[in-house]
């Protein structure tokens, strides 16, 4: 005869009420955790918290890399301030052709094809021509210049560029006596530069300099940084660097150089003429209409520092503007 298993003593039986509450507790816990997860991740997504992009793996730039690697004393144009990291220089960029936020160019600029690449030389020149980028690179050995860069949005960096003095390039291009200005144009190709599908600016990007500014020894055509080939997000294969002006003057991925008699219509000055001028010299005394230019945050610092007139290059360049009202010509 089989005996039924003995029932547990009644003291061990969970009261029905508690049993039901336990189920309800688990249900509520699951729903609570689920709510927290959905609401929390939604918030994190909406406020744009994403892991930062990785620095690009760029090849060294020929002989220039060896020059850059040599620990020599700073040259006459170099600042001896600590340089920003390669990671910061290559992942914090303003390059609206690849998106209007600092992390976007380093994520998106892989679509840019920098070979084959030609630069069309037009306007007031002895011989209008189209030159291959490698021809230009063959003419000069890039030199390292450690410059401060001050963005109009009140941050700054110190960057070891590799570049060609703009004056040397201009001499090779033989502008005529009528050339009073030089105009640079970025590539226009929304397939390679998806940001150009968004009409926030008038594409292609155009920037320019007065000829005496362009001939100044500080003005540089950069083809690399940190001893490496210029990453796409920094304006490959060649870009302008004018360290005493706000960063937006540094037109990137140049395909056209035009010498003109009249002042070029530049992109930001067209987009917001009250906010951005043609000259755009760094000037702590002239505020942007919406924010102060008196101070800046050096990337890597927590506190702000004072912005210097002409970004600290006043001794070299102030004479270019001796007779000008820099409040009006901002």
């Amino acid at each position: 005869m089989r005996t039924l298993p003995t029932e547990p003593p009644s003291s061990e039986i969970t009261p029905e009420g508690l049993y039901l509450r336990r189920r309800e507790f688990i249900k509520n816990a699951v729903l609570g955790v689920g709510t927290a997860a959905v609401f929390g991740s939604g918030l994190v997504w909406l406020v744009g918290q994403r892991p930062p992009p990785d620095a690009p793996d760029q090849p060294p730039l020929g002989e220039a890399a060896a020059v850059a690697a040599e620990p020599t004393a700073p040259g006459q144009y170099d600042t001896d301030e600590p340089m920003n990291t390669y990671q910061a220089v290559t992942t914090y960029n303003n390059f609206y052709e690849f998106g209007a936020d600092y992390a976007l160019p380093s994520r998106n600029a892989h679509t840019l094809q920098t070979r084959p690449w030609t630069i069309s030389v037009e306007g007031e020149v002895a011989r209008p021509q189209t030159i291959d980028i490698d021809t230009i690179l063959g003419w000069f050995t890039p030199e390292q210049r450690v410059y401060r860069m001050r963005c109009v949005e009140a941050w700054s960096m110190v960057i070891p560029w590799l570049g060609i003095p703009l004056a040397s390039l201009i001499k090779r291009l033989e502008p005529t006596g009528n050339a009073k200005f030089i105009e640079f144009t970025t590539l226009l190709d929304p397939k390679q530069m998806p940001g150009q599908n968004d009409p926030i600016l008038k594409w292609p990007y155009v920037e320019g300099l007065r000829m005496d500014e362009a001939m100044h020894p500080l003005a540089l055509i950069a083809v690399g940084l940190y001893g490496k080939v210029l990453p796409n997000q920094n304006g490959a294969p060649l870009r302008l660097v004018v360290p005493w002006k706000y960063g937006f003057k540094g037109v990137k991925s140049i395909v056209k150089i035009r010498f003109t008699e009249t002042q070029p219509q530049t992109t930001w000055a067209l987009a917001a003429p009250r906010e951005y001028g043609f000259y755009a010299n760094v000037n702590p005394a002239v505020d942007h209409p919406r924010w102060s230019q008196a101070t800046e945050r050096r990337i890597g610092d927590f506190t702000r520092r004072k912005t210097l007139p002409f970004n600290g290059y006043a001794d070299q360049v102030a004479s270019l503007y001796a007779d000008m009202d820099l409040r009006r010509n901002f």
């Binding site: 609570g32 709510t35 959905v38 939604g42 930062p52 910061a88 992390a103 917001a272 919406r290 945050r297």
Partner: protein
């Protein structure tokens, strides 16, 4: 089964979720993965979190009216207080880190820069709302006056969106999204207000009716 408060998991879940941006920020700070300009990143994240939560709190009443749900009314205070929490942190980082407590520069910013003026005004408007967020305050002020005061949240929302517009260099696509959400919420409220007015006939008539009833009583 309906023991205790209905949906007892809702508020604790939202409370923990609302802390997520802060938790992520702390993890990023410890790991050093906040990008090249962490001060700007922290300010942006805190400001945007405040704006999102303010919009969410403003959506509660329209959602209740549109769909007849009762639960949004119960999370409105939590969302509003978290919006205030984030905007306070946003302002503190601006004061302590961005401007290093330089009183002259801060006053100049608030007075001279409309973008900072409107942001500061939004914060100031939210302060009395946070202070009167308790149930006791509703009782003390009376429901009508309390509701009227808390309509300021919409004004703060408008100012916060303007602050966002004036902050961006040129790409206003994100501020536009928030302006759209805010306009939609205001339109829903306007529609309900118009419908109520139409039901009641002329608003003056409602007032007269109310008074005569009172007299009658």
């Amino acid at each position: 089964m309906s023991r205790g408060a209905p949906l007892p998991w809702l508020k604790p879940g939202l409370f923990v979720g609302a802390l997520a941006p802060l938790v992520v920020m702390v993890v990023e700070a410890v790991q050093g993965t906040m990008g090249a300009n962490p001060v700007a990143e922290v300010e942006n994240v805190l400001g945007l979190a405040a704006l999102v939560l303010l919009m969410a709190s403003l959506a509660c009443t329209p959602a209740r009216r549109l769909f007849g749900w009762t639960w949004p009314a119960r999370i409105r205070r939590l969302l509003g207080l978290f919006a205030f929490f984030y905007v306070s942190l946003h302002f503190l980082v601006y004061l302590l880190v961005d401007q290093s407590l330089d009183a002259g520069r801060i006053v100049e910013d608030i007075v001279k820069r409309p973008f900072i003026t409107v942001g500061f005004a939004a914060l100031v408007l939210l302060l009395p709302l946070a202070l009167t967020s308790t149930t006791a305050s509703i009782r003390r002020l009376g429901y009508r006056r309390w509701t009227l005061l808390h309509q300021l949240a919409y004004v703060a929302g408008v100012l916060a969106v303007i602050h966002f517009f004036w902050r961006v260099k040129i790409d206003v696509s994100q501020p536009l999204v928030y302006a759209g959400v805010l306009s939609a919420l205001l339109l829903v409220r306007l529609a309900f207000w118009l419908a109520k007015r139409a039901r009641a006939g002329h608003p003056l008539a409602e007032g007269v009716a109310g008074r005569s009833r009172r007299i009658g009583a």
